[in-house]
């Protein structure tokens, strides 16, 4: 329907589109996916650079390489960058590129809204990072606890950059989540019931619902934070009777679901990769789906396990401890299903498969340390030590990042029509896998030994230097692995082996069409009879009652009747106005109206964008 409100151009325009302007105005979900991916990898490099600086500072006891203030900015921006500007948008890159293909759709439900999500993400990310130039980046930790964020303790505008940047990113994610829910619910090919959707699409759906329900809670917290700082409203001022714990409750009510927002896409990717290279269907498809949904629901019930040491009272402690441990159940179910998928399969150890296996192994370690600090007395010991740095890194790096890299190796051929080199890929994997364990493994030890997180230096007599040096070496091995990836990436984009439509002998619909797919994806919309439609078609002997009716190939005459939405520059105008308004609030709240006016004019332009010649 949104596409009907916009204008339509014939598919024949599609071929002639190139150049910067065509990317700025694009509403093609595949191009937006590529924009998301490239931007996310760029921020992954920036976040990695920040990590290296942190590790360099800590490699030596009493080091003076990086001043304490800058160190605080680095670890805060490293976390914000990795979580919100690398992992989430890399997930979004795959939602954009792959989900419509997996459900047999020509596009997403709201193509221009989709473009808006990307531009808001980009401008929000730039806003957050521009703080490095304008008086200092956020330095209060990624969860920015009150009262550290009070004007008296954080007089610079760093915290305002945090709040406003996050608000813009939040709008971006909310718009994207709404778009994907509607796309998945409303635009599935005939016959694709919910229980025939690929697991990756399912996890996209769960993540999108998590965003829709978690983000508004964060929005409220950020608004309170801004009003507190900008207008002196005493939301977190204890002397005025306020409860600074309000911030923690609100933040983690968003923040815990957020960690599932970070991991579920990777779980979805792994659930696609393992069956493909084991040449077996996913074991227990429906349990994997239900476990994913259950994790989503339970994610909202455990937030206070981030607050065990603030004095919640024993009943709350017990409840949140129990609910946290319960999450291990669906998580464990998934792991068993993955292992059972491998069991007895004829496994191909491609790079993508290695990353998926690495994901399973490392995620188990991270999950186990999670269960450990789900116990309040244990957590009291571990809280704010390097042990808690190790845990999220095993799940976020060993889990999310490994899973997402697996996705890159798996779907790169579909996106570009070329294969990434397997040799370089395996080198990338092994360096990354080793480097990751060398970096984060010793953090468990030094954490148990009491090294606090977020200190910028430590005394030599503590005996933490050796382990820290090992960690720093590990960090550089990871950096090397990323360089290997980049070399592989650029070489393969230019001169990789042609991939063909279905290089992995895939099972789902995205492999039934050309690589890279034409703008309209499917010349004919396929009809689906199982959760592995392409596999059924290739192996009719396995299925008794499913007529093979996938029609992905070009079809004479059919293409002329396909109408795709026209490019539009209104999304970038609206995004620019919004981010400008947010940025100007820091200078002066009244100035922000300049950005707001641009944004509102953009919305009117958008709504009244003239319908194209073929509009009816």
């Amino acid at each position: 329907m949104a596409t009907a409100v916009g204008a339509f151009g014939g598919a024949d325009h599609a071929a002639s589109k190139s150049g910067v302007w065509s990317w700025i105005t694009t509403v093609d979900h595949k191009r937006i996916g590529i924009l998301y991916g490239v931007t996310a990898v760029t921020f992954f490099l920036i976040g990695g650079f920040e990590a290296l600086l942190i590790r360099l500072q800590l490699a030596e006891a009493e080091s003076t390489l990086i001043a304490a203030g800058l160190f605080n900015q680095l670890f805060t921006m490293h976390a914000l960058t990795m979580i919100f500007l690398a992992i989430m948008p890399l997930g979004a890159a795959f939602f954009n590129f792959i989900v419509p293909l997996q459900i047999g759709a020509r596009d997403v439900a709201f193509p221009r809204l989709n473009a808006l999500s990307y531009w808001l993400f980009l401008f929000g990310a730039l806003l957050l990072n521009s703080s490095f130039i304008f008086g200092g980046a956020p330095d209060v930790g990624w969860f920015a606890y009150a009262n550290l964020t009070a004007l008296e303790y954080s007089p610079s505008s760093a915290v305002d950059f945090f709040a406003l940047g996050m608000l813009v990113l939040g709008v971006s994610s909310l718009a994207a989540a709404l778009n994907f829910i509607i796309t998945i619910l409303n635009m599935r090919a005939p016959g694709m019931t919910l229980m025939r959707m690929p697991v990756f699409t399912w996890m996209t759906l769960v993540v999108s619902f998590l965003l829709v329900f978690a983000l508004p809670i964060l929005t409220v917290g950020l608004v309170q934070l801004l009003f507190w700082r900008e207008f002196g409203m005493p939301f977190f001022s204890a002397e005025a009777g306020a409860d600074p714990l309000l911030w923690q409750h609100i933040f983690w009510l968003f923040g815990h679901p957020e960690v599932y927002i970070l991991i579920l896409p990777a779980m979805g990717i792994v659930s696609e990769i393992l069956p493909t290279y084991s040449r077996k269907p996913l074991f227990g498809y429906s349990t994997v789906v239900f476990a994913g949904v259950a994790i989503g629901f339970m994610g909202f019930a455990v937030w206070a396990h981030h607050m065990f040491t603030v004095g919640l009272g024993s009943i709350a402690l017990a409840a949140f401890s129990a609910s946290t441990m319960l999450i291990a159940v669906p998580t464990g179910i998934k792991i068993f299903n993955w292992i059972a998928t491998l069991w007895g399969g004829s496994i191909q150890f491609t790079t993508a498969m290695l990353f998926a296996l690495g994901f399973v192994a490392l995620f188990v370690i991270g999950g186990l340390s999670g269960v450990m600090h789900a116990s309040p007395p244990v957590d009291t010991q571990q809280q704010d030590t390097y042990f808690v740095v190790a845990h999220p890194h095993y799940v976020l790096f060993g889990g999310s990042i490994m899973g997402l890299f697996g996705g890159i190796y798996y779907w790169f051929p579909k996106m570009t029509g070329r294969l990434l080199s397997e040799g370089w890929g395996k080198l990338h994997f092994w360096l990354m896998f080793i480097g990751m364990n060398v970096t984060f493994g010793p953090m468990h030890l030094v954490g148990i030994d009491g090294m606090p997180r977020r200190i910028n230096t430590y005394d030599e007599s503590m005996g933490w230097e050796l382990l820290n040096q090992i960690e720093t070496v590990g960090a550089f091995i990871i950096a090397l692995s990323v360089v290997v990836f980049l070399v592989n990436f650029f070489k393969s984009v230019k001169s990789g082996e042609p991939a063909g439509d279905d290089p992995w002998d895939g099972r789902t619909l995205e492999w039934s069409i050309a690589s890279p797919p034409p703008e309209y994806n499917f010349a004919r919309i396929p009809v689906v009879h199982s959760n592995e439609p392409l596999w059924d078609q290739k192996h009719p002997e396995l299925k008794h009652d499913a007529p093979p009716v996938i029609a992905g190939g070009a079809d004479e005459g059919a293409e002329e009747s396909i109408h795709m939405p026209n490019p539009s520059y209104w999304p970038i105008v609206v995004a620019f106005g919004t981010a400008l308004a947010a940025g100007l609030v820091i200078v002066n709240p009244w100035l922000a109206s300049i950005g707001a006016v641009i944004g509102v004019l953009g919305i009117y332009g958008w709504v009244f964008e003239p319908a194209g010649p073929e509009h009816h």
Binding site: M1, A2, T3, A4, A105, R106, A109, F110, L174, L178, I181, I182, L185, N186, M187, R188, P190, G191, M192, V212, F213, A214, L215, P216, I217, T219, V220, G221, V223, Q224, F227, W228, F231, G232, M233, P234, F235, S237, E239, A240, G241, A242, D243, L246, I250, L253, Y520, R524, I525, P526, V527, V549, A551, D555, A558, S561, I562, H563, M564, Y604
Partner: protein, 205 residues
């Protein structure tokens, strides 16, 4: 079942049978529930926590707010009549009821401005205490939603002179209506929680 669905059919027929835009509005409103939920929760936490006055029961003026609540609820009725008029292609009454909805919404906003002004005079600003901060934020955001609604209604009103309001366009009005009714329902919750419950004198401790 045929294998060939043309682009046009696939835009119109959705898997669930629900229109994209309607689903978008429902989901957006679901997310708004959590937004207002968090604001209301903050208010409940803070309503009696202030270390200085005025406290809710000393300042909230139930009769005045009851009147403005009545005005806002009436606007929902006008919205229903507007949609009904569009659906029977009665442009003139549709226009009238859209304008009436906007007018009643604006009247509600007038009441709110008056209320805020009165409170400030009596010494309650957003900065005075935690009650003031959470009260003005909650009701202020509700007012902002009403303002957006009024602008949207007036845009629709002026649009109708240029392009008419054919029955096929009824979805535009329906979406507007969903939003408007939601904002009204939220107000009913706010009125109950903030004004009726919130103004009860807290038990002496």
């Amino acid at each position: 079942m045929t294998t060939n669905t043309t682009a046009h059919e696939s835009h119109l027929a959705t898997t669930t049978g629900l229109d994209h835009r309607k689903l978008l509005m429902w989901l957006f409103l679901a997310s708004e529930c959590l937004f207002f939920g968090a604001l209301i929760a903050t208010f409940l936490l803070y309503k009696d926590a202030s270390v200085v006055g005025p406290k809710p029961h000393e300042i909230l003026n139930i009769p005045v707010t009851s009147t403005s609540t009545f005005v806002l609820l009436t606007s929902s009725l006008a919205m229903v009549l507007a949609l009904a008029a569009v659906q029977r292609s009665d442009v003139v009454s549709a226009r009238f009821w859209i304008f009436a909805t906007a007018f009643l919404g604006a009247t509600f906003l007038g009441f709110q401005v008056y209320e805020f002004y009165e409170f400030v005079i009596h010494g309650l600003t957003p900065k005075t205490n935690v009650f003031g901060a959470s009260f003005f934020t909650l009701t202020g955001f509700h007012g902002a939603h009403v303002t957006v609604g009024v602008i949207w209604l007036m845009s629709l009103f002026f649009y109708s002179f240029k392009h008419g309001l054919p029955a096929e366009k009824s979805l535009d009005v329906e979406l507007m209506g969903l939003y408007w009714h939601f904002v009204d329902i939220v107000w009913v919750v706010i009125f109950t929680v903030v004004y009726l419950i919130g103004s009860l004198e807290p038990p002496a401790t």
